[in-house]
């Protein structure tokens, strides 16, 4: 489990977890879970398309995730954003299915894009993931305060000259970046659970965002580490364990919040 073969896995999974935990804090804060669900599917379609024409899947994912992010935020300004996201999601999923049926490599590669292939990360895959991860981290740290303000008090932020639309686009691009880097490792379906479960659990424990974010990253790390170990031992898909652990963490978080907020109300 800690052999050389697994070193890349531990590194990339940890990088993905750190980014998912940090970006995910804002996903939950902004109520953008649906966006975080849709963009990985776009990335999946992009990867399937790229494989079909012999391009680097990471590039295809990047193009589709960024394009999806821009489309969703721009179209969502006019109509209801949940409807726009839902339609974008199914359109991208449909393209993914189309590209798959046109291609010949139906089997393991595609399965990996959807469910992750964490137990076989090659050395060549590590560097792009680390670079994209660092970019996402810089983007979140740089935009921290305007993101926080615009997410919680959008009208008050706008009155200070922080454009809600600019923040929407900026954040969708960050999610796209985080998605593109992580889909080949944890898979499209599971990146979503990693960006929502651990952050949603963490915010139940701390009211201070500068504590909740590190805890969110910690939860995400624990989630992928447990999932890799369990997957390695049981030979079952890693994504199953990722989802299971993050759901359990979320349940514990909600329970803690219910208890602690009741205590405050009684004391007040």
């Amino acid at each position: 489990m800690f052999s050389d073969f697994m070193t890349n896995t531990w590194i990339t999974a940890s990088v993905v977890a750190i980014i998912a935990g940090g970006v995910g804090f804002f996903v939950v804060l902004r109520g953008s879970s649906f966006l975080a669900h849709a963009l990985p599917h776009g990335a999946f379609a992009g990867a399937a398309g790229a494989t079909l024409i012999g391009m680097d899947p990471i590039l295809g994912m990047g193009i589709f995730a960024v394009g999806g992010a821009l489309a969703v935020t721009t179209l969502g300004r006019r109509g209801r954003s949940d409807v726009v996201i839902a339609l974008s999601l199914v359109v991208m999923l449909a393209f993914g299915a189309l590209f798959l049926s046109l291609g010949s490599q139906y089997s393991s590669e595609v399965f990996a894009l959807l469910f992750g292939q964490i137990l076989g990360v090659s050395s060549a895959e590590v560097l792009p993931i680390v670079v994209l991860g660092a970019l996402s981290a810089v983007a979140i740290i740089t935009g921290y305060r305007p993101l926080l303000l615009s997410s919680v008090l959008p009208e008050m932020a706008a009155a200070r000259g922080i454009s809600t639309y600019a923040i929407d686009v900026y954040f969708a691009l960050v999610v796209a970046l985080a998605t593109a880097m992580s889909v080949p490792v944890v898979g499209a379906l599971l990146m979503f659970s990693l960006m929502v479960g651990p952050p949603a659990a963490a915010r139940s424990f701390f009211a201070d965002p500068l504590r909740a974010i590190p805890l969110s990253i910690g939860f995400a790390l624990v989630t992928v580490w447990i999932a890799i170990a369990a997957s390695y031992q049981s030979n079952l898909p890693v994504g199953f364990f990722v989802t299971l652990v993050s759901a359990v963490l979320y349940g514990i978080g909600r329970g803690w919040f219910a208890l602690s907020s009741r205590r405050i109300t009684v004391a007040a």
Partner: protein, 271 residues
């Protein structure tokens, strides 16, 4: 209006609106609205739902471009002097499990537009603590903001808007969802900070009674038209009858005012 300032030493108004008109999707929302706000004044923007109060506030903030007329804030056009205006929107929904303490919300008022993660700073903490104390929010400074009561949340949001030291504070229906006691506490607090910090307050409300003891002047908005003056000048049957375009009676009962629309008689005024 022909209110020419008499004293030459009168300070420049913090806000001056001249003939503001706004059309939105074929409907006239504001029609020739003019008024001025002097530094440190406490002004009630009174009107029923749909009278155009929120639109007027959005024009002042530079979030809505007027179709006609001009507006100046501290001598600048809205949007170019954004620092001088603090703003509290009508409905602020804060989830109960929002990972923010009251002091975090106030700190975002200080430097929320800056990039990067705030570094720990004794000066920043002291400024936030002072501001929390000024709105009597010290006792719940470290509480989760989503778990506070409506009145407590209003205090925190007022502190958020005031900490950047604006010269003008706009509040859109801040009393709408408060019980009578919290509502009068918030009005007293606003009157106090307005006096102590020299901030002009423009506060919209549909009921003018909680504001009566504190207002310097009133801007009465109905159907997109406005009359301004002291409350004694404006809240009169003849003035409001002209504004509403139908008969309005003003009843005064023990220091409170009741504005009662009369029957909608078809008395053929030209409109």
């Amino acid at each position: 209006m022909t209110a020419t300032p008499v004293e030459t030493t009168a300070p420049a108004p913090v806000l001056e609106a001249r003939g503001i008109g706004v059309w939105l999707s074929g409907r006239r929302i504001l029609h020739d609205v003019s008024f001025a706000v002097q530094p440190g004044e406490f002004i009630g923007l009174i009107g029923s739902n749909g009278a155009g109060k929120t639109t007027l506030l959005r024009v002042i903030l530079g979030l809505q471009r007027p179709t006609s007329g001009s507006i100046e804030i501290g001598g600048k056009h809205p949007g170019h002097g954004a620092e001088v205006v603090g703003y509290l929107p009508q409905k602020v929904a804060l989830d109960s499990d929002l990972p923010l303490r009251a002091r975090d919300v106030v700190a975002l008022g200080l430097d929320g537009q800056k990039l990067g993660i705030p570094l720990p700073s004794a000066k920043r903490t002291a400024l936030v603590d002072d501001m929390l104390a000024a709105v009597d929010a010290t006792s719940f400074a470290d509480a989760r903001v989503g778990l506070l009561s409506g009145g407590q949340q209003q205090r925190v949001l007022i502190a958020h808007a005031l900490i950047s030291r604006p010269r003008l504070l706009l509040l859109d229906e801040p009393l709408a969802n408060l019980d009578i006691r919290s509502s009068s506490e918030i009005v007293e607090l606003l009157a106090r900070v307005s006096r102590e910090r020299g901030v002009a307050v423009l506060l919209s409300a549909h009921d003018l009674n909680p504001l009566l003891p504190f207002m310097d002047r009133i801007v009465y908005l109905e159907g997109g038209r406005a009359v301004s003056g002291t409350s004694d000048e404006v809240v009169q049957s003849d003035v409001l009858t002209a504004l509403y375009g139908r008969r309005v009676d003003v009843l005064r009962v023990e220091g409170r005012v009741l504005v009662v629309a009369g029957p909608d008689e078809a008395h053929g005024h030209d409109e």
